[in-house]
């Protein structure tokens, strides 16, 4: 039958509500959560599962292929990659979490302040935010990091936190703008509630769900940024083991075709980023989708 003469707008009847509950695991990112838990536990308890000192340079065994002794092989400086993965994961995850927490804090304060401020101030703050966002973040991070001196876990997390807030701040501001006229905010203000009181008790619980996804994505972004910077040689130095600094040996690995030095830390990195994304997507929630009209 021609498509022009088909029935449109037919909705399937809602399925009969059955008493058997949906299995609890349905629609949850179990695989991602399990992987993240595994990596986190491995990183937390790395002294228990690693057999070698990750920093020890066994020059006789440099750039060895993965085998029974060196599960993931060794890098060009003779360090055991299996041990480095877990110790390095600590650093990578710590940088990601710290940076995301810091940027979320800054974003909430700036976004709320901008949303509650008089219009001219709001415009000013938003313009400045836009200027801030206009420099490619890589350049900005390199500049700030250079100003802070040699990178450590803390300074790198600080820099990534300081540069990662703008997107979240914009969302917070939009949410606050929508909320600021609500009567309970007005009542709280009239009763003499200060900025931080209103923020914590009335605003934050309301915009928290909508920024949750972005904050999780910031964790992902910070981990990826740490890896990129350390790889380029402007992030963590070689002796601070992280997934990024492990990859900074790639140039020599490429020359000798030592695929494991590039592939193994990278796979851990990508799998972790993927798991975080899956969890972020789940947090964003599946909107109760209407039926397509097409």
């Amino acid at each position: 039958m021609d498509e022009r003469f088909s029935l449109v707008g037919v909705r399937p009847l809602p399925a009969e509500t059955t008493l058997t509950k949906r299995p609890w695991y349905k629609g949850k990112p179990l695989l991602a959560a399990a992987f993240l838990a595994l990596v986190t536990l491995g990183c937390l308890f790395c002294p228990l599962i690693t057999t070698r000192d990750p920093a020890y340079m066994d020059l006789l065994n440099s750039a060895r292929r993965p085998d029974g002794t060196f599960l993931f092989g060794t890098d060009t400086m003779g360090r055991d990659i299996f041990s480095m993965i877990w110790y390095g994961g600590r650093v990578s995850l710590a940088v990601g979490l710290l940076a995301a927490a810091l940027s979320a804090l800054i974003a909430v304060v700036i976004g709320t302040a901008s949303g509650l401020a008089p219009r001219w101030l709001d415009t000013c703050i938003m313009r400045l935010t836009e200027i801030f966002m206009s420099v490619p973040s890589l350049l900005l991070v390199m500049l700030l990091q250079a100003a802070l001196g040699k990178a450590t876990v803390w300074s790198l997390a600080l820099v990534l936190g300081l540069t990662g807030w703008a997107g979240v701040a914009k969302v917070v501001r939009t949410e606050v703008l929508a909320l600021r006229r609500s009567e309970y905010i007005l009542a709280a203000r009239a009763a003499g509630g200060g900025f931080f009181h209103i923020l914590r008790r009335h605003l934050a619980p309301n915009f928290f769900p909508s920024i949750m996804f972005m904050v999780v994505m910031n964790v992902r972004g910070a981990i990826a940024a740490e890896a990129t910077l350390s790889f380029l040689g402007v992030g963590l130095p070689l002796e601070v083991i992280s997934w990024g600094s492990m990859l900074s040996l790639s140039q020599t690995a490429l020359a000798s075709g030592a695929w494991w030095i590039i592939l193994i830390p990278g796979l851990f990195l990508v799998a972790t980023l993927l798991a975080i994304t899956e969890i972020g997507n789940w947090l964003r929630g599946s909107s109760n989708k209407k039926h397509s009209n097409l």
Partner: protein, 328 residues
């Protein structure tokens, strides 16, 4: 009048940006003399150092240096690159074409492919093809650009030896084919890194669109699904896609910079990386301003586009509604 206002915003933005970058760069503890003199910087006597700092104007307070920089810049003199020992503009002029080629081709490819991919996914909503593409897309969007570059170099340059691993042309220069061969890998990384994000945005926008009432009306009037999708839904989704294209510029540019650095591709990105790393102040300033300017301009363009294509945005602004933000 409106144009004038926009121009004013652009100029003020660039001024603030230049001030911020100037201060940040000067506060960094690196040694700018090292990039001017190279290895010799360490052998300079204290007197020679002092003299060099005076001649390069590095001995004065930062704000004096900034005002002088600004005065010169307004006259079109953006200073010297410490590393290359020639005018900043000349250094950039030699590289900008390469970046435009890589970034521009990447931009075109990303948005034409994303358009097709987004449409395909929306058309096949929740069917196996859509699901597979969504999973695949999520995976590609999680791969950091530098690592994808490494992987491709490892496969195509180290093991298969079919494509060059770095640069923009072979030693001694080459023809168009040679340049194209050097472009394949960097371009592949730029496109893969960004493609899914924009395809997914378009897909979700289209899925919202097909749930609106006008689609039901159009279908009940006997228009085919295909026609409704392409002539009605896509048409309504395009304004936000266009402004998305404009907003995407800083992201794609940032990605291009990283890819250039990994592939040692002689473009603006490699230059920016070098200048930030070795404190090549004047060069860094111009590169930041150039990047920032492009981004600010593209943001303005995004707004102009969505105003022109979707009169509701302008109407909302005219009514003074603060909620006139674009939801792209």
């Amino acid at each position: 009048m409106k144009l004038f206002k926009k121009l004013l915003i652009l100029i003020v933005s660039l001024l603030i940006l230049s001030l911020a970058v100037f201060y940040a760069a000067r506060l960094a503890p690196g040694d700018p003399l090292a990039s001017w003199y190279g290895e010799r910087a360490e052998r300079l006597t204290p007197e020679e150092r002092a003299q060099a700092e005076v001649s390069l104007g590095l001995d004065q307070p930062i704000h004096v240096q900034y005002v002088r920089w600004l005065k010169n810049a307004l006259r079109g003199d953006f200073g010297l690159s410490f590393k290359y020992k020639t005018g900043v503009l000349e250094v950039i002029r030699g590289r900008v074409g390469n970046t435009l080629l890589l970034g521009g081709l990447g931009f075109l490819l990303i948005f034409s492919l994303a358009l097709g991919l987004g449409l395909l996914c929306a058309w096949q909503e929740d069917k196996p093809l859509d699901k597979v593409l969504c999973k695949l897309g999520t995976v590609t969007s999680c791969i950091p650009e530098f690592w994808l570059s490494l992987l491709l170099i490892l496969i195509f340059a180290v093991y298969l030896r079919v494509l060059p691993s770095s640069g923009a042309w072979s030693v001694g220069g080459g023809g168009t084919a040679d340049r194209a061969r050097h472009l394949i890998l960097p371009l592949a990384v730029v496109v893969t890194g960004h493609l899914w994000y924009y395809a997914y945005m378009l897909r979700n926008r289209l899925l919202e669109e097909v749930r609106s009432d006008y689609v039901l009306l159009a279908r009940s009037e006997g228009l085919t699904r295909r026609r409704v999708m392409l002539h009605h839904c896509l048409r309504n989704a395009l304004p936000s896609y266009l402004s998305l294209m404009a907003i995407s510029v800083p992201h794609i540019m940032g990605g291009t910079y990283i890819v250039e650095t990994v592939f040692s591709y002689p473009g603006i990105g490699t230059l920016a990386y070098e200048s930030a790393r070795y404190q090549d102040y004047d060069l860094l300033m111009v590169l930041c301003l150039l990047s920032g300017g492009v981004v600010i301009l593209s943001n303005m363009l995004a707004q102009a586009v969505s105003e022109r294509v979707d009169p509701r945005v302008r109407a909302r602004e005219a009514m003074g509604g603060k909620g006139a933000d674009r939801h792209g």
